[in-house]
């Protein structure tokens, strides 16, 4: 059994790689590509040069300029528990502090040579000096200040790089050199390498100015990055993870990344949404099981009776009603004040609920009752369609076993009817239900997009829907990855449960 589980766990790795690659490719192939959501949010700004800078910054921050497969590799490195480079640190606020990244090289060095080695070295020394000057300060404040400065100057630098490339494109257009531009009309610095510089035109002057600003910004960014690096190396916070080779390789928790659309760690977003979805599902699933399975058992025992037909018909009818319609009708008639007005229309709590006591009292219905009152309609929507499949499966399994030879044997032994049903028939009918049972786990985490949307419940379904709207790669991937993991583990659990429930199944 141990070997079998180990083998299955190892096999999950290629499966997960396949799943994530597929999702990554889908996001990349979606109209607008991976950064589409970012471009939408950037486009709301009026000033075109600021939009440009913002885009340059975001592309740099999320590495959107690289080929898709490189981005996927980077995402894998991020998610992998095996990490390279210095260990991350955890700040008191709980956020992970990463070492500063290397700066990109400036383009078109043939025309505008990069700063000399000496200047770069000087900038590095200046950065260290800046760090030394701040040494006396509180480590937390110091690192945050240095990080912020470093981020700002890096942002300025990548902005100037983008401005330079725009100027380059303008120059090319002014000189009628369309061949130097790529299909989108942007300048491709690689095509300019080896060309002779041709000074002496308004567009050339603008280009030279932009390049100069770029080199100034670069030196500043180098200086600030050196200061941040020195501060990071001085260990302002405790390190996380388990070192394997100090400074080079370590084991750490998977990093789900930072959501594009909200500029917050995906792990935090999931931590907020998951309890909501879990709450709904933890209420809904027991209701489904507690009703569907006894109904299925009874229907099988009284096969052909009115109970069998009625339960089958009602469940099938419920199953056939689309959740969208049911949700809207419930809101329209049950929640609407103009009709019954029995339940709230949306949300999980009253706005005042935070100030109430847990149990009813002091003139309020209390936090708990308020929550039950709010989740009643969403849970109804989650539950009503779930009876049919489960109870029919249960009924079919029971019927298979009710006519089995060993049931006749048990009856011939003198086992009372109820005991025959529970001990012999139901026990054997559990085997096909195991497969259905483990399907709960991914469903628990996934949340219902429709129900959460209709009732404005801020759960996983809402989170993933917004992420898809905004093409937020990080959230989509994190969600897929999490559900894929849970699904694979649930399937493994099903196989283990089979071995436990059925002595004929063995993995030795």
């Amino acid at each position: 059994m141990g070997t079998y589980i180990a083998r299955r766990l190892l096999l999950m790795i290629p499966t997960l790689l396949g799943i994530t690659l597929l999702v990554f490719s889908l996001v990349a192939l979606a109209p607008g590509g991976i950064g589409a959501g970012l471009q939408v949010s950037g486009g709301q700004m009026s000033d075109t040069s600021r939009v440009m800078q913002m885009q340059a910054y975001l592309e740099d921050r999320y590495g959107l300029n690289d080929p898709v497969i490189v981005q996927y590799g980077r995402w894998l490195a991020q998610i992998s528990p095996l990490k390279f480079g210095p260990r991350f640190q955890r700040s008191p606020s709980g956020a992970w502090v990463r070492p500063p990244r290397d700066l990109p090289e400036p383009p078109l060095q043939g025309w505008f040579p990069a700063a000399s080695q000496e200047a770069v070295a000087n900038a590095g020394t200046a950065g260290l000096a800046a760090f030394d000057a701040m040494k006396a300060q509180d480590a937390n404040d110091r690192h945050r200040a240095l990080q912020r400065d470093s981020e700002a100057s890096r942002r300025a630098y990548v902005g100037t790089v983008r401005a330079t490339r725009e100027a380059l494109a303008d120059w090319a257009r002014a000189n009628d050199r369309k061949d130097l531009l790529d299909a989108k009309g942007a300048a491709d610095p690689a095509r300019f390498e080896g060309m002779q510089a041709v000074p002496g035109s308004p567009s050339w002057d603008a280009l030279a100015k932009a390049a100069e600003a770029m080199h100034v910004a670069r030196l500043q960014a180098i200086e600030r990055a050196a200061a941040e690096r020195a501060s990071f190396d001085a260990q302002p916070y405790p390190s996380i993870g388990l070192p394997l080779i100090p400074g080079t390789m370590w084991l750490g928790p998977p990093d789900l990344g930072v959501a594009f659309s909200r500029n917050r760690p995906v792990a935090d977003l999931i931590a907020e949404a998951l309890p909501v979805t879990l709450l709904l599902n933890l209420i809904a699933f027991p209701i489904i099981y507690l009703i569907a399975i006894p109904t299925g058992v009874l229907a099988a025992m009284k096969r052909g009776s009115w109970f069998d037909s009625a339960s089958g018909a009602i469940f099938l009818m419920l199953w056939s009603v689309p959740t969208v319609l049911a949700g809207v009708l419930l809101i329209g008639f049950v929640a609407n004040k103009q009709y019954l007005g029995l339940f709230p229309v949306s949300g999980l709590h009253d706005t005042q609920a935070e100030n109430w006591t847990f149990l009813p009292g002091a003139g309020t219905r209390g936090w708990l009752m308020d929550m039950v009152w709010h989740v009643a309609l969403p849970v109804t929507c989650l539950v009503y369609g779930g009876f049919a499949v489960l109870s029919k499966q249960c009924r079919a399994a029971m019927l298979d076993n009710l006519s089995a030879d060993y049931v006749r044997t048990a009856k011939a032994k003198g086992v009372p009817r109820m005991e025959v049903v529970i001990r012999h028939v139901f026990r054997n009918s559990l085997l096909p239900l195991i497969t259905m049972f483990v399907g709960i786990f991914p469903a628990m985490l996934g949340g219902s997009v429709i129900v959460e949307r209709i009732f404005s419940v801020p759960g996983m379904g809402t989170l993933i829907l917004q992420a898809i709207d905004l093409r937020d790669r990080e959230i989509i991937l994190a969600n897929t990855f999490m559900i894929a993991c849970v699904n694979l583990l649930a399937l493994l659990l099903a196989d283990i449960l089979y071995a436990v429930a059925d002595p004929r199944v063995s993995y030795e």
Partner: protein
């Protein structure tokens, strides 16, 4: 068990003349599922038979003739509906079984009447160990401590020879043998062969010392050597306990080897009832003769085997018994004798001291009652 005890059992049994199980005029019908308004399907239409202690009553007949329904009726294991007991009675030592309430019936099932089935591969519950299943039977019927019940289960398995190989292996080591016996209780049915499973079934059926064993084709699914072993085992257990066995089978070889009395059934009725040797030497009913002549012989080289129909279509067959006309539902209307009562065309008529024949109720037989044949006969050992 010693020879002495066996002889004693034999003597006791030979004195007993009270039948263990008597089936009289049993009729069972089922709803017609394919034609709900139509006539009910009459699976058993007036069956008579008696079983005495230490007797093996072989019930033979083709599929669907009502053998199993008769046995299942004795256990009230016929699902009702769709089944229904139309008339008749089944008595266990004088006690009516057909109308016994369910809670009383639970004590009878497995406790006084036990049943073993044709399919040893599927008749044991796959998810419980054989020990669990035997203990379930024991604890249902006997007030025993768990340790005593386990002893009883081991004893039952020992009796059916499950431990023979184990005994050989641990000849010298009594402790290891005891442990091995106990461990075997925790094994699951899928680890046993068909023959071993049938032994487990028998152990389970016999663990509560039933008076009657209904063996519904117990050896059909087994190969020939295992068949012989199982039948020998049943015979030996029967002698030890004075148990009555109703052996339902298709196999006339099994009947010849094991039965004391044979009951031949056709179309829900008994057509012939006689001691085994009498029946094999002189089958009287055309159907019985058809049955025997349909057995292929090694020396009669024929291109086509004789079928039951070949025999029963011969009008001469029906004139062999002087004075009565053997009952046969497919008889030509012209050949049918005049009946005393059209509603009761059939009677199981005693035509000799140890011989019963299913006959048409001709005016000659109008006044005859047809009590269950009482044939307290055992083949000589």
């Amino acid at each position: 068990m010693s020879v002495q005890a066996r002889t004693k059992g034999f003597l006791d049994a030979s004195k007993a003349t009270v039948p263990l199980l008597s089936v009289s005029d049993l009729a069972v019908s089922f709803d017609n599922a394919s034609n709900p308004g139509g006539p009910r399907i009459q699976a058993v239409a007036g069956v008579n038979m008696t079983l005495f202690p230490r007797q093996t009553l072989a019930v033979v007949g083709e599929s669907g003739c009502g053998k199993s329904v008769t046995a299942m009726s004795a256990m009230q294991l016929i699902p009702r509906p769709p089944g229904r007991f139309d008339r008749g009675s089944i008595r266990l030592e004088g006690r009516e079984l057909l109308t016994l309430p369910e809670h009383e019936m639970l004590k009878v099932r497995g406790g006084e009447i036990a049943m073993i089935f044709q399919e040893p591969m599927t008749s044991l519950n796959p998810v419980y160990s054989i020990g669990d299943q035997i203990l379930e039977a024991i604890l249902l019927h006997q007030r025993l401590e768990m340790t005593q019940a386990i002893e009883r289960a081991i004893g039952a398995l020992d009796e059916v020879g499950i431990y023979n190989r184990l005994k050989e292996r641990f000849k010298a080591d009594a402790l290891a043998l005891a442990q091995g016996k106990r461990d075997l209780l925790d094994e699951y049915p899928h680890r046993f062969s068909g023959g071993m499973r049938q032994r487990v079934m028998i152990a389970m059926a016999l663990a509560c010392q039933p008076k009657v064993l209904l063996a519904d084709e117990p050896t059909t699914a087994l190969d020939v050597t295992i068949q012989a072993q199982i039948l020998d085992l049943l015979r030996q257990l029967q002698r030890d306990r004075g148990m009555g066995i109703m052996l339902i089978t298709h196999n006339l070889g099994v009947v010849a080897e094991n039965a004391d009395v044979v009951c031949v059934m056709y179309a829900g009725r008994v057509v012939e009832y006689a001691p085994v040797f009498d029946l094999f030497e002189n089958p009287m009913h055309p159907y019985t003769r058809g049955l025997f002549s349909s057995i292929p012989g090694l020396h009669d080289m024929r291109s086509r085997l004789t079928t039951v129909e070949d025999v029963t279509n011969d009008p001469a067959e029906f004139r062999r018994v002087p004075g009565v006309v053997p009952w046969w539902p497919h008889m030509d209307a012209a050949a049918r004798p005049a009946l005393a009562d059209a509603r009761e065309p059939y009677i199981l008529h005693q035509i000799g001291p140890q011989r019963w024949l299913g006959c048409w109720r001709t005016p000659d037989l109008a006044g005859h009652a047809s009590p269950p044949p009482s044939l307290d006969y055992r083949r000589p050992d």
